[in-house]
């Protein structure tokens, strides 16, 4: 089953890639344009999508089940960090990331608070001050 989904995704993605690439100049074999290489690659992706999918149709399989809770929590925590870090600075971004990531598992609230505080200190001391990464600890910049 997994291979059928994967194969269909590859065929779809490859076909879309070829279609989009044909919008670029193909050029000639001697002087290839920007579209030449992507068209070849996209077609090969389609071909291998078929090669992955077809054998899978002749065997039984189970559908993989994702583990939703950690998946959603972890992805959201990264998203929140990305949205907050440029607007409010490193410390608020760290706090947000820690709290959202903690939703992936059942963790004691006090532990999360302590962890967030500890990570803020490490983040500022090691990265902003120590390694000189230019992220201010706090800022106010919504634009």
């Amino acid at each position: 089953m997994a291979d059928i989904i994967g194969g269909v995704a590859l065929i779809g993605g490859g076909a879309w890639f070829v279609l989009h690439s044909t919008g670029y100049n193909m050029g000639t074999l001697r002087r290839m344009g920007p579209g030449y290489f992507p068209v070849i690659i996209g077609s090969l992706v389609c071909l291998f999508g078929i090669l992955v999918m077809v054998p899978a149709m002749f065997r039984q399989g189970t559908l993989p089940v994702p583990d939703w809770r950690p998946f959603v929590a972890i992805c959201l925590s990264v998203l929140v960090f990305a949205l907050v870090v440029e607007r409010l600075g490193l410390v608020p971004a760290t706090v947000c990331l820690t709290f959202v990531a903690a939703l992936a598992e059942r963790v004691k609230p006090l532990q999360v608070v302590l962890l967030a505080a500890g990570l803020c200190v490490i983040g500022v001391v090691v990265f902003s001050k120590g390694l000189g990464i230019p992220i201010p600890a706090f800022r106010w910049n919504f634009f």
């Binding site: 291979d3 994967g6 001697r30 002087r31 690659i41 992805c75 998203l79 962890l115």
Partner: protein, 506 residues
């Protein structure tokens, strides 16, 4: 004799106070992040990349390299004690290392993996020292067609040797190549697949791609696995418990040598990498063992061979990187990036133009490996204690380091968003059992391949026969074809076997 003079020069450079200090920092950090599951050398190196603006090139590269091979030492610790690999290459060590720990032989397993790491690294460094100047000489004769064919071989090798079906591996390489197309076309300046997003003009950020595919999806799966890890109290690792018995030594040393050989070879191939080397070394041991049924139940060869192989390949991976300027994996691509930041162009002329850097780096590998043995045998208790940190504290920290690391490369929050996107993609791939490593390799080599392909066709006036007329290129293509044929053959055989077993079961 010239080699010894060069090495003497290298040691002079490596023993400079500053380089020695950075070497120690590198291997220490490397062991640290290697022991911890979920954070690898890639995130660490990308976080430390900005630091290297402020230190001289040799010291910077010595430190970054130390993180890379130091992580190979640390990776097996968690595999043995918790059945959870600290680095992808150490996944093989779980197979026999964890059963050894369950039998109360964790100390011996930890000792043997350290010794195997040291043996593997030493042999890898000897290969590196002996072959890279010669290879650099040959590489001066390489034309664009030869480079193209060599990279093609690397990609096919990575795909065919990866876990799972070769068709899926090749498909992943191709997806990587497709992702590598995104950005500005170098030759015409055309914007491809950027959809008007200015941050995509330089293409996807490699660190964001790799951290999403490996880092984020690894954290998600680790949370899942951590629930099932038995929380039983670990035995204390004392120095006495580490002493191996006669049988362990007798069975291990030939395995270490074989593993080192396998590892040295696969490290040199651009694209094969440490994980593939470790898996193949394990397969070789199982194939030639007199009692293959011992494997999986705590066979000591099952840990020493792959451990030697992954370390040997971590050292020889520097051969294509330094002498050809072609990175074998994402970490090596970052090392190349660090060199370019420092104004050093990697490639065949590196050895002659920057001998102090080249030989100093190699000499630092010897020093670093001796430091690693000291760090890993007497101080093993410290690393073991670190594994007691609960994962609920560890994983938010790892995520934060990933985010800061990615952000710091370009100071761009857009790249952190990309991490999330690739994290979703990577987790989907894990569920559908597609390997991320070939994809990353395709992504790294894609732009280089396209450039060499177009240059080769321009030189040959559009005659594709150039790839067969040049002997070097034709040689690479022959090996590529053989490899494809072999993997096709073994895939068919596997399928037949599976069908027969299915029929027998019915």
């Amino acid at each position: 004799m010239e080699m010894f003079a060069n090495l003497a020069l290298g040691f002079q450079e490596a023993f400079a106070y500053q380089n020695l200090l950075y070497c120690f920092i590198g291997v220490f950090l490397g062991t640290f992040i290697g022991v911890l599951p979920g954070i690898g050398p890639l995130a660490t190196i990308s976080m430390l990349l900005p630091l290297t603006f402020h230190v001289p090139p040799t010291a910077a590269l010595v430190m970054l390299a130390g993180i890379y091979y130091g992580a190979q030492y640390g990776g097996s610790t968690a595999s043995i004690l918790m059945n959870l690999p600290g680095t992808p290459a150490a996944a093989v060590v779980c197979l026999d290392g964890y059963p050894m720990a369950k039998k109360g032989r964790a100390g011996v397993a930890l000792f043997m993996t350290t010794i195997a790491s040291f043996v593997g690294s030493t042999i890898g460094i000897i290969v590196l020292t002996a072959f890279s100047p010669a290879l650099a000489g040959v590489a001066l004769a390489f034309g664009p067609a030869d480079y193209f064919s060599m990279m093609l071989l690397g990609l096919v090798a990575a795909a065919a040797l990866a876990q799972g079906s070769p068709a899926k591996g090749i498909a992943m390489v191709l997806v990587g190549l497709a992702l590598g197309v995104v950005g500005t076309d170098v030759q015409t300046g055309a914007q491809r697949f950027t959809f008007g997003i200015p941050q995509l003009a330089d293409g996807f950020n490699l660190v964001a791609l790799a951290m999403g595919l490996f880092g984020v999806s690894e954290v998600i799966t680790s949370i899942q696995r951590m629930r099932t890890v038995n929380k039983q109290k670990q035995e204390k690792i004392t120095l006495r418990s580490m002493v191996p018995n006669k049988d362990d030594v007798r069975q291990s040393w030939p395995a270490m040598l074989r593993g080192s050989g396998v590892g040295s070879f696969f490290g040199t191939l651009p694209g094969a990498g440490t994980t593939i080397a470790a898996f193949i070394a394990y397969a070789v041991e199982k194939r030639i063992a007199r009692k293959p049924e011992r494997f999986g139940h705590g066979a000591v060869e099952g840990i020493s061979a792959p451990e030697a192989a992954s370390n040997a390949s971590a050292q020889t991976a520097f051969i294509p990187t330094l002498t050809l300027g072609i990175p074998g994996d994402a970490v090596m691509a970052l090392m190349l990036g660090a060199m370019i930041i420092q104004g050093i162009q990697p490639g065949p002329s590196l050895v002659t133009e920057h001998p102090q850097l080249f030989w100093g780096l190699i000499a630092s590998f010897w020093i670093g490996n001796v430091l690693l043995v000291i760090l890993n045998i007497p101080l093993i208790g410290m690393w073991v204690r670190m594994l007691r940190i609960p994962y609920s504290i560890l994983y938010p920290s790892i995520l934060l380091f990933i985010c800061i690391g990615v952000f710091s490369v370009n100071n761009s929050a857009f790249d952190v968003l990309l991490v999330m996107g690739f994290g979703v993609f990577g987790y989907a791939m894990t569920l559908l059992k597609f390997e991320p490593a070939p994809l990353v390799l395709g992504f790294i080599l894609g732009p280089l391949m396209e450039e060499h392909l177009r240059r080769a066709m321009l030189l040959s006036r559009g005659d594709a026969m150039i790839f067969l007329q040049r002997p070097i290129s034709a040689g690479f293509l022959t090996v590529t074809t053989l490899l494809l044929a072999w993997s096709l053959f073994s895939a068919i055989r596997m399928q037949r076997k599976a069908r027969r077993e299915l029929a027998a079961a019915e």
